[in-house]
């Protein structure tokens, strides 16, 4: 058994991370960048990082994930990566012709201290950037934060580079989602559209990392937010940021840079959080909630009523990314579940820890940061066994070892398909999630029922 080595007794580890519950910044930055139309993510560092980040996203989405690399060699590590970056810019525009190059740094270029702002300025001065094209960057050192931080940094860079206040207000509401699946991006757009709200959303990876098969390889699939819209977000009437850790910085910048009034909410996962989103959208856009949205909500509530007894009181443990976790915990609470553990490898900050604790109440173990890894989670689970586990693919080892069913809701998911097509946000997403949970719990009940209690109708 793969995990037989995990001891039940928890001892404080000072220096070692075992089976991390996070990964590094650039992969999040790369994902965010893919949500801009005709944007090529570029990794400034050695080839390895870029190859890994692309593989990680490729496995997660089963889609071709493009990204170029500065291809550092020893020379670049000694003399700095400026010439590699300039050469990259030249080659990329010549060969791949993107509208935007979104550079993320790696640990290496960070430690060397490459000044990307200066390098990009140099490229502008030297006329290396064709008219109408943009090179932007986010600083994404992985010895700080996690993939979520990388996403947040790239999102902030989008505001920094594009959002523009011209003074002529438009009628758009800007939506800034945290690190979520393309299916969830679609669901958020669906709610806004259904409510008749004119919106700008970025990043938007729907149609990019879940693009249809049309017999061709596209370097730039149809989806992604056009940069003109990101620019216009600076004039938008208001903004709503969804998922605090992933969007806080960007939302704040949009507010200070362009004076766009911004509400920062949790990701709309589950009834409570979706209600908050719908209500804020209603107020800020001055619309009424249409019947169709009420119906979606009603259906979710209806199914929850029908089957509440199967989820009520069930014990759950969750690992994943901070914003998604916040939504999922609310979802579980809506269903009357008991939260045992919440673990994220992302150092989400004391504020997140506090809010999460407030939400879950006493009796729940909440841990974030370096030593919050899957080894630790496994230990927790051995001491207090849940009925259900939410997490990423790597949790399958724990799930198998302890025979606890797993619902895959965190990054990465390498072994199942659907997450990029079936949302968990919004009321419809809540229904999907609920059905998944019910399926798995009732399946268990059937499996474990003694012969005389194994019945047709449940």
């Amino acid at each position: 058994m793969l995990l037989r080595h995990t001891p039940k007794e928890i001892v404080e580890r000072s220096a070692l991370t075992i089976n991390p519950a996070k990964t590094c910044q650039p992969v999040g930055a790369m994902y965010a960048a893919l949500g801009i139309h005709r944007c090529l993510p570029h990794s400034h560092g050695s080839q390895g990082c870029c190859a890994y980040h692309r593989s990680a996203l490729t496995r997660h989405y089963a889609e071709p994930i493009m990204g170029s690399t500065s291809s550092f060699t020893e020379g670049a590590s000694v003399f700095g990566g400026q010439s590699n970056m300039l050469e990259s810019i030249n080659n990329i525009f010549t060969l791949y012709d993107p509208d935007i190059i979104a550079v993320n740094t790696t640990c290496l270029s960070e430690v060397i201290g490459d000044d990307l702002k200066q390098i990009i300025n140099r490229a502008i001065v030297d006329n290396k950037i064709p008219p109408g094209k943009t090179v932007m960057f986010a600083s994404t050192p992985s010895f700080k934060g996690s993939h979520v931080t990388g996403y947040a940094n790239m999102l902030t860079a989008m505001v920094q580079n594009f959002a523009e206040k011209t003074g002529a207000k438009n009628n758009y509401v800007t939506l800034l989602p945290s690190f979520i699946e393309p299916s969830d991006m679609s669901e958020i757009k669906h709610i806004a559209a259904e409510m008749g709200v004119q919106y700008i959303m970025y990043p938007d990876t729907s149609g990019v990392v879940n693009a249809p098969m049309d017999g061709k390889f596209h370097m730039y699939p149809k989806g992604g937010t056009p940069k003109e819209l990101i620019r216009a977000s600076g004039d938008s009437r208001s903004a709503i940021a969804l998922g605090r850790v992933g969007t806080f910085q960007a939302a704040q910048l949009l507010d200070t840079k362009c004076k766009v009034k911004t509400d920062i909410l949790d990701l709309p996962i589950g009834i409570t959080a979706t209600d908050a989103f719908v209500d804020t959208l209603r107020k800020t856009a001055g619309v009424t909630v249409p019947e169709s949205i009420n119906t979606e909500r009603g259906q979710l509530v209806d199914v929850l009523c029908d089957k509440a007894q199967y989820v009520y009181g069930k014990k759950v443990s969750l690992m994943g990314d901070p914003d998604t976790l916040y939504g999922l915990v609310q979802f579980c609470k809506d269903a009357g579940m008991r939260i045992l553990h919440v673990v994220t490898g992302t150092p989400a900050g004391a504020k997140w820890d506090r809010r999460m604790k407030e939400l879950t109440g006493e009796g729940t173990i909440v841990k974030s940061g370096a030593q919050a890894d899957l080894f630790y989670l496994h230990q927790l689970l051995q001491n207090d066994r849940p009925d259900l586990l939410f997490g990423n693919t790597y949790c399958k080892y724990i799930s198998r070892d302890m025979d606890i069913p797993l619902i895959r809701t965190a990054f990465p998911i390498y072994d199942r398909i659907g997450h990029s097509y079936v949302p968990i946000t919004g009321y419809r997403g809540g229904l999907n999630l609920l059905i998944k949970v019910l399926d798995i719990l009732m399946e268990r009940q059937d499996r474990d029922a003694p012969e005389e209690k194994f019945e047709l109708v449940m």
């Binding site: 640990c107 430690v111 693009a211």
Partner: protein
């Protein structure tokens, strides 16, 4: 016409048209969407299957996270290699150095897991901040009494190939430890076979049937103690030559063990690999056994291949793999299925490798080094391939174009080595190429339509 970066012009040729020698073994052009990885990746994949050692990745978290469960190297016993250990360097460590943290991590790790050896992989950052990893490892080794081996795999210090070399140096340190445990007379080591999907077990079984003992397989289903006896085998059989020839050379020099290079993919190469070993031992019994084995395996295999061949005859394939030796075998194996290779390349080939590829392919074949998706998809389309053989990043590209795919890299789930492997390969290629799903591919529909119209015109 497929557009190629000026700097890459000498890295792509069409057989029969271009006469230059391919430029290779150089870093990817800055700005390219390269499919290649780094030094660390090279070391990690080679050492990964040693299952009773811990593999501690000294650096920030990503490098560890991405190589966790990276390749399906199976173990018949311990599975320590499948866990992910990292010092998860933070900003302070980067500023003040990570030696203390490394020391503490090693002690915690070895205390908790009681491994037989520990490998410490140095990632880019370590090379840059200049931790004295040698010293820390030596200190811990002394304290705990197991080999604690630094692997100098700083990503930027070269290509994946340099990572193989660093791995060879690390493994080499494990050899020569055990002179007591008996090792049979006809013993070999297999070098560069990683037990993906259990391939080592297939190969070991062949040798067993020949009467040859496998003293150690480096590193498939690997154990520290076995490697400690490897120096007493009579012959090193190098399968993945790109990664392990270096180790073979070191062992030849120090222990006087000769080596041969083989490939376990495809019928000819597999048979030759077995015969070469038999001939080395010059033992009649082994030679007889080998003839018997090859005959029975090939006889069993060929009729089954013929079945697949019926549907595959005349189809075309593109091959883009890590090592060029594998590419050679693929070209030959595909021929057994009636398929022609129209595009072929690798991430790490040498000039001689590409010359050999030129020899064994047909006129018009595109041969390329260190390609990128745009080129690759362009050539696939231009040459009308029905199948792409590659790794994780190539798979979705093939599918988007509406052609079949076969993974011949770390993630393969089917054993492709040996005669059993050849059959699996044929089945996988057949399943993928003839899948009904392609009839929904717009490109295929168009191609079929064009073919129909052309045929009508002829009539």
């Amino acid at each position: 016409m497929v557009e190629i970066l000026a700097a890459r012009k000498q890295q792509v040729l069409e057989k029969g048209k271009d006469v230059f020698t391919i430029e290779c073994e150089k870093p990817s052009t800055a700005g390219s969407v390269s499919q290649r990885a780094c030094v660390f990746c090279g070391s990690r994949v080679v050492l990964y299957p040693i299952a009773d050692a811990v593999h501690l990745i000294h650096g920030p978290i990503g490098c560890a996270a991405y190589t966790w469960e990276l390749r399906g190297s199976l173990s018949s016993g311990p599975e320590l290699h499948r866990l992910s250990f990292s010092t998860d360097l933070r900003e302070n460590d980067v500023i003040y150095g990570g030696e203390k943290k490394l020391y503490a991590a090693l002690k915690e790790l070895i205390g908790a897991y009681k491994p037989n050896a520990a490998f410490v992989y140095c990632t880019c950052i370590i090379g840059l901040i200049g931790d004295d990893v040698e010293a820390v490892c030596a200190k811990v080794e002394k304290e705990v009494g197991i080999p604690v081996i630094p692997v100098h795999s700083e990503g930027f210090k070269g290509t994946k190939k340099d990572g193989y070399k660093a791995a060879c140096e690390a493994v080499f340190k494990l050899t020569g430890k055990d002179d007591i445990t008996p090792v049979p007379k006809f013993s070999i080591n297999i070098l560069g076979e990683f037990n993906l999907a259990g391939e080592t077990w297939i190969i070991k079984d062949y040798y067993k049937r020949m009467g040859v003992n496998v003293a150690s397989c480096i590193t498939g289903d690997g154990r520290v103690a076995e490697i400690g006896r490897a120096h007493r085998a009579k012959l090193n059989v190098v399968q993945c030559s790109g990664s392990m020839t270096y180790l073979a050379k070191m062992m030849e020099e120090k222990y006087g063990i000769p080596y041969i290079r083989v490939s376990y993919f495809g019928i000819e190469d597999m048979s030759k690999a077995l015969y070469d070993v038999a001939e080395f031992f010059k033992d009649d019994k082994i030679l007889d056994n080998t003839r018997e084995l090859v005959k029975s395996e090939v006889n069993k295999l060929l009729p089954k291949l013929t079945e697949y061949r019926k549907d595959l005859e005349g189809k075309k394939a593109g091959v883009y793999v890590g090592g060029s030796f594998k590419a050679f075998s693929m070209v030959k194996a595909l021929r057994h299925l009636g398929m022609e290779t129209v595009v072929v390349g690798s991430q790490t080939g040498s000039p001689e490798d590409y010359d050999y590829l030129k020899e064994i392919t047909n006129e018009g074949t595109i041969i390329l080094d260190d390609t990128n998706p745009l080129e690759l998809s362009g050539f696939i389309l231009e040459k009308g391939a029905d199948l792409l053989i590659g790794g994780v990043k190539e798979r979705p590209i093939a599918y988007k174009m509406g052609i079949g795919f076969c993974d011949h890299n770390h993630e393969r789930k089917e054993a492709l080595a040996g005669y059993d492997g050849m059959l699996n390969f044929a089945r996988e290629v057949h399943t993928s190429v003839t899948s009904p799903v392609w009839k929904y591919s717009p490109a295929r529909i168009k191609a079929a339509e064009t073919a129909r119209v052309a045929k009508e015109r002829l009539v």
